[in-house]
Symmetry: C2
């Protein structure tokens, strides 16, 4: 391990440049205008894998391609690890809030800022660079490696499950490793054993056929913005509970053991509040901040638009209004079931005088993984060595829909070893990854490969 650490120390500058090159490609998967950039990022990865001696292919899907690469040189007696990551990123809006451009990666105060720095290009490529280091130092890998890097994670991975299903044998492995989560705090690594699911919706309310003068028509026709606000307001009560009928039916209660373990974590509520700049933490009554964000379902608006939003006053009664909102789900809620319940709620509450349309944009189920297996054990040991502190077991409020797919389809353990931090601002302006996390992640990945290989034989 000493030799490996020294090698990685020497190559930091080059590893950083590698990541920057990938971050410069604006591979925004949700925006059709960036289709070419998404493909360019896939091409960049393909070349990167090919240069390392991996067998690599671009596998087409209905939309954005999957990059699949494998190196089976360790032979059938060695274990095989499947690394999953994604090369697509969230949209960078609102652009004006970025200190430096979202696709101009820039280091400030030991942090690399760019869209995708932590989610997920920086975390995913740590494994690529760790494999490269093994090949450079020893001419071989400690175990067999398969990489599946997709370009549709940020749009809900619509084509991944069928792909995994169809290639079940080719993807066979002893464990799946995913680095798309956070450590608990700086210097305190973590294994995530639970993720929330997601159900994302768009609702449009159409009132009059065209914008009207609010004086001449106001009072006599339904206003689509007022109506939309009432519908959104009807979704939650003042205690922060979702009022959609049956929403909590399948929510698995937190165990006393879990609540105690989370309460024992060195969680700094004031620092967390400060990191998000909110005047006060608020949420569902009867739960702590960690419980609210890790173990309880949510309903949050993500966007809303209607009428005149320029400077000054325009007395328009607009013809329509639109909102986007999404639910984070916890076991054992299902995104399809929640989608049906949300639609039923809107059908029951849509008033006269408007047309209300709800569309489900994407979804994914929540998941709890087994935290007791040998793969998780090797990952915890590797993280502890790399970061100099024990790896705690935590959940995350985020969603990686494919985790449940990997569990269900491949039937192998999933190891969520994240190199991010809670203040990484993923999905927000000025996303970053700490350089300590990025370089530590490469060390942890390299060490994991050795430790997991050693569990066999």
């Amino acid at each position: 391990m000493g030799e490996m650490k020294a090698y990685l120390e020497q190559h930091r500058e080059r590893h950083l440049e590698d990541l920057k090159a990938l971050l410069r490609i604006p591979s925004v998967s949700t925006d059709p205008a960036h289709g070419g950039d998404v493909r360019a990022a896939a091409g960049w990865l393909k070349e990167r894998f090919a240069a390392m001696g991996f067998d690599v292919a671009i596998h087409e899907t209905a939309r954005h391609p999957i990059v699949y690469a494998e190196h089976m040189g360790a032979g059938p007696q060695a274990p095989t690890v499947l690394v999953y990551g994604h090369y697509d990123v969230q949209p960078p809006d609102p652009l004006e809030l970025w200190v430096t451009g979202p696709f101009e990666p820039t280091v400030r105060d030991g942090r690399l800022h760019a869209r995708g720095a932590t989610d997920d290009k920086g975390q995913m490529i740590a494994h690529v660079l760790a494999a490269e280091a093994h090949l450079a130092l020893n001419g071989k890998l400690p175990l067999n490696l398969k990489f599946l890097v997709e370009g549709e994670e940020e749009i809900g991975s619509p084509n991944l499950a069928p792909y995994v299903e169809a290639r079940r044998e080719a993807l066979a492995a002893d464990a799946v490793v995913i680095s798309d989560t956070s450590m608990f705090a700086p210097g305190m690594p973590a294994i995530v054993y639970g993720l929330r699911g997601l159900a994302y919706f768009e609702v449009e309310v159409q009132g009059p056929g065209h914008d009207l003068h609010s004086g001449l028509f106001g009072g006599a026709v339904a206003n689509p913005i007022n109506t939309l606000c009432s519908l959104i307001a009807s979704l939650k009560d003042e205690a922060g509970r979702v009022r959609v009928e049956g929403f909590y039916d399948d929510v698995r209660a937190l165990t006393e053991q879990e609540r105690a373990a989370w309460a024992a974590l060195p969680f700094d509520e004031e620092k967390f509040r400060d990191s998000c700049g909110a005047p006060k933490m608020v949420g569902e009554e009867g739960f702590t901040t960690l419980e609210r964000s890790w173990g309880r379902p949510t309903l949050d608006c993500n966007g809303i638009l209607g009428g005149f939003v320029g400077q000054g006053a325009k007395t328009v009664l607009p013809s329509k209004a639109m909102a986007k909102f999404s639910c984070r789900l916890v076991p054992d809620q299902g995104s399809e079931d929640i989608g049906a319940k949300i639609k039923a709620h809107f059908e029951a509450h849509a008033p006269e005088g408007v047309k209300v349309e709800v569309r489900e944009l994407h979804g994914g189920n929540p998941v709890i993984v087994n935290a007791e297996g040998v793969a998780v054990g090797a990952a915890r040991a590797a993280l502890a060595e790399a970061f100099g502190s024990d790896a705690v077991l935590i959940r995350s409020g985020g969603s990686i829909p494919v985790v449940s797919d990997f569990s269900a389809i491949l039937g192998i353990p999933v190891v969520l070893m994240g190199f991010g931090l809670p203040d990484d601002r993923l999905h927000s302006p000025n996303e970053k990854i700490d350089l300590d996390c990025f370089f530590g992640g490469i060390v942890a990945s390299a060490r994991f490969m050795e430790l997991f290989a050693a569990t066999r034989g």
Copy 2:
């Protein structure tokens, strides 16, 4: 009158070109980027009046100038009429819904389409062209004329009342004529004797200090869009009543006589519904459509914006959200009083975890004018001659805040003789004025000058 009608018939093409020239100037008063255009429209009017032999001046205000022109050649024995109008227009958004450009006036099917066609350039200039016709035919006017044309009506005329107050003597007249309202229906002219007032607000809700990942933070912080929707929803109940405390305290009840008179008007509810393209007319329980839009106060959102509103899904928990909304007021509500009540409502309802700021953008009081005087009588007779049908007495749901100022400061009758139609789409895309209304308005104005002059001596 026969000679005048023949003259006006002959000059239709030129009158239309005159109006088009003014409509091509995008004098949007609310948008600072159009400041130069507002001034250009004032300059255009100044030259127009000067060419007709009026004494004309541009009077500066704190923002957009007032064009003042007078022709006192009829002498002290003749009555004097003050014509008020405005040369500023509403913003043209949303641009993509215009069939032809908002500032490229275009005639289709006997209608001239452009922003300001009916509100108020087309109606205001009808009086200018009528005066010009008298001067061309007879070398003089039947009465003395003063024109006050402002550039701030669409932003609430913030500088007009002080101006009128300061120039009370210079503005002395026997009546004020304002054409900024609608006829009851095509071929059925009307005098408007009541207008609603206005109180316009902008509310901003700030939650987190920056956009957050809805998975990592969702459930633990207040969402500003959800909060804003709940606040907006709290303003009205399901029966369409405003729930702001004290909102109805000063509302003057409609008289049985008024309700009967309105019920007797040939109002085609289905045609009205069709003209605004709404699936159904809805509003405050217990009132008819005309009562809701003429005689009852409202609260309508005019715009709303927050978070991600682009294509696809972005799982952001946004830092802030904003809405614009306004109340139409009826006698004896006061816009300042309503403003205070609205602010108190938001203070009482703002939840923890967010900052809520409400700003009042502009306001104006409702008004009822005397419909029995000689000026209104002359106007009704002129309208009847010009359009071949009796002029009915109606109210309007719109607001012309200066009407109450003119009444209060100058102490003279206000005559609201409108040449628009209810389907003119003012404040909306594809605003228009029917050519029959425009040309008929010039006839009516020219005839009104003669009839009102004849009431003296």
